[in-house]
């Protein structure tokens, strides 16, 4: 408590420091640096540096205000393309391969080759795979814990739709989610997303096995 006034004094000195760059100066410097530093390589063109609204709002140390986050979520929700034929689930075996696959979209990847889902980089899924990341929550028992016994049953419809939405555009439910917008950004095809849906929701998938 006694150190408190001292801290305030220090903060005042730092804020008042004449040579501290202003936010506007830093903005200009960052723009100059981006232009001078990056070049296109392979499929990674310079337009990748142009931010959309969601990216821009989530590019600070602190998250955007609730109002801005809500606006972004609404806009992102509107981008979700639902399966035209009403079929949400594919083959969980293909889904597992996609979940393991971390390739695609880098400057060293060839054009036109579908990439992977990168899922294990951030999430636990099947129990047998011990090499999983923890940036996202564990998805082990994903369908089971959410009571999805039969993905085709009407009782499962809401959870199935929610999961599709999460894979297609995770920013629709969490403006600054760390998760890529797999469908929206064209990282995965609708067929690939179906296979990942099956990995998460099919009772036969190792994700839901005991």
């Amino acid at each position: 408590m006694r150190a408190f006034p001292k801290l305030i004094a220090l903060a005042a000195v730092l804020a008042g420091c004449a040579t501290a760059p202003s936010p506007q100066e830093t903005d200009r410097l960052v723009q100059t640096i981006l232009v001078s530093s990056f070049r296109e390589q392979g499929i990674a063109k310079l337009d990748r540096l142009t931010q959309d609204e969601a990216q821009q709002a989530c590019s600070n140390e602190t998250p955007p205000s609730d109002a801005v986050a809500k606006r972004i979520e609404a806009a992102q929700l509107a981008t979700i393309q639902w399966p035209a034929d009403g079929i949400y689930l594919g083959d969980w075996r293909e889904g597992e391969k996609l979940a393991q696959n971390g390739r695609g979209m880098t400057w060293s990847d060839p054009a036109g080759v579908p990439g992977g889902g990168n899922c294990y980089n951030c999430h636990q899924l099947a129990k047998a795979e011990i090499s999983y990341g923890t940036i996202g929550p564990s998805l082990y028992q994903y369908g089971k814990l959410r009571g999805v016994a039969d993905p085709a049953a009407p009782a499962s419809a809401d959870m199935v739709k929610y999961t599709w939405g999460k894979l297609w555009n995770a920013k629709a439910t969490n403006a600054c989610s760390n998760m890529p917008r797999f469908g929206h950004a064209g990282v995965l095809t609708p067929a690939q997303i179906r296979d990942l849906m099956a990995l998460l929701l099919d009772p036969a998938s190792p994700v839901n096995a005991q």
Binding site: V30, Q51, N60, M105
Partner: protein, 269 residues
């Protein structure tokens, strides 16, 4: 024998409560990885690069037939010890904030090499091989010293501030910034721990562990190469070697790491 007991025990627990057993499995995985890293710690092939860099430092090279003994890394001509833990910093002769690699390029230009050509050379080829050796040698000379980047000049503060912006800059098809993976403590990709670079990650972690020998490629990676591959995995366009974006990020991370002990060159997966 001890391990077999542990396995039987873990299986028993699994039958009782899945939750606890899962935590147990995670611990044994972490223990296994820790054991693997401990076994590798003795005998880091980065030493091979350090030795090569030491020879290169005193060797007269280039069209000007100069050694690096006239090269000022910020502590005076030819001074190697302690230079690494104060980089990036501002250099009056180039009027730029420079990291170790960009400064070595400046010194190579003085030797008569074409710096732009070397910067454009792919990693692991031609003079880039020598640069990695020099980076190993110079960083090793500051092993056990604390990071203490100078921030006295406006240019240095501006560069660190720009680096902070770039650290949080989300873009590309995956919406990733550096902070997507390195903005929180205690996270990992697959089994690799991710240092929280938004704060000081501590002694010998994060910024204080690079350059490093990469087991996966069997090569020594400078911070430039580390950042280049981070941006590749972020699905960004290509950052130029020793470009201002990479130097700005180095400045930001280096300032965050103030007081942390350097273990570079480390050994990494």
């Amino acid at each position: 024998m001890k391990q077999r007991h542990a396995a039987v025990w873990a299986a028993g627990v699994l039958a009782v409560t899945g939750c606890l057993a899962s935590a147990q499995a995670q611990t044994s995985t972490a223990d296994g990885i820790a054991q693997y890293r401990a076994l590798l710690a003795d005998g880091n092939p980065a030493e091979l690069w350090e030795a090569k860099g030491e020879l290169l430092w005193t060797q007269k090279r280039g069209s000007k037939n100069l050694s690096f003994e006239t090269c000022d890394l910020g502590k005076g001509a030819g001074v190697v010890k302690g230079a690494f833990v104060e980089l990036p910093r501002y250099f009056a002769d180039t009027q730029r904030v420079q990291d170790l690699e960009s400064r070595l390029l400046t010194c190579m230009a003085a030797q008569g090499f074409n710096a732009a050509e070397i910067a454009a050379t792919p990693f692991g080829r031609g003079e880039q091989v020598n640069l990695e050796a020099l980076v190993a040698y110079v960083s090793a000379a500051s092993r056990g010293m604390k990071f203490n980047l100078p921030q006295g000049r406006t240019e240095e503060r501006q560069m660190a501030e720009a680096g902070k912006r770039l650290f949080y800059f989300r873009a590309g098809p995956y919406d990733f910034s550096c902070a997507s993976c390195h903005g929180e403590p205690g996270k990992r990709i697959r089994l690799q721990d991710l240092p929280d670079l938004a704060k000081s990650p501590g002694d010998g972690v994060g910024f204080a562990a690079w350059p490093a020998y990469r087991v996966s490629s069997g090569e020594l990676w400078s911070m430039q190469r580390r950042l280049n591959d981070c941006y590749r995995q972020q699905r960004f366009p290509f950052p130029g070697y020793a470009s201002d974006a990479t130097i700005a990020l180095g400045s930001f991370m280096g300032v965050q790491a103030r007081g942390a002990l350097s273990i570079a060159p480390a050994i990494k997966r």
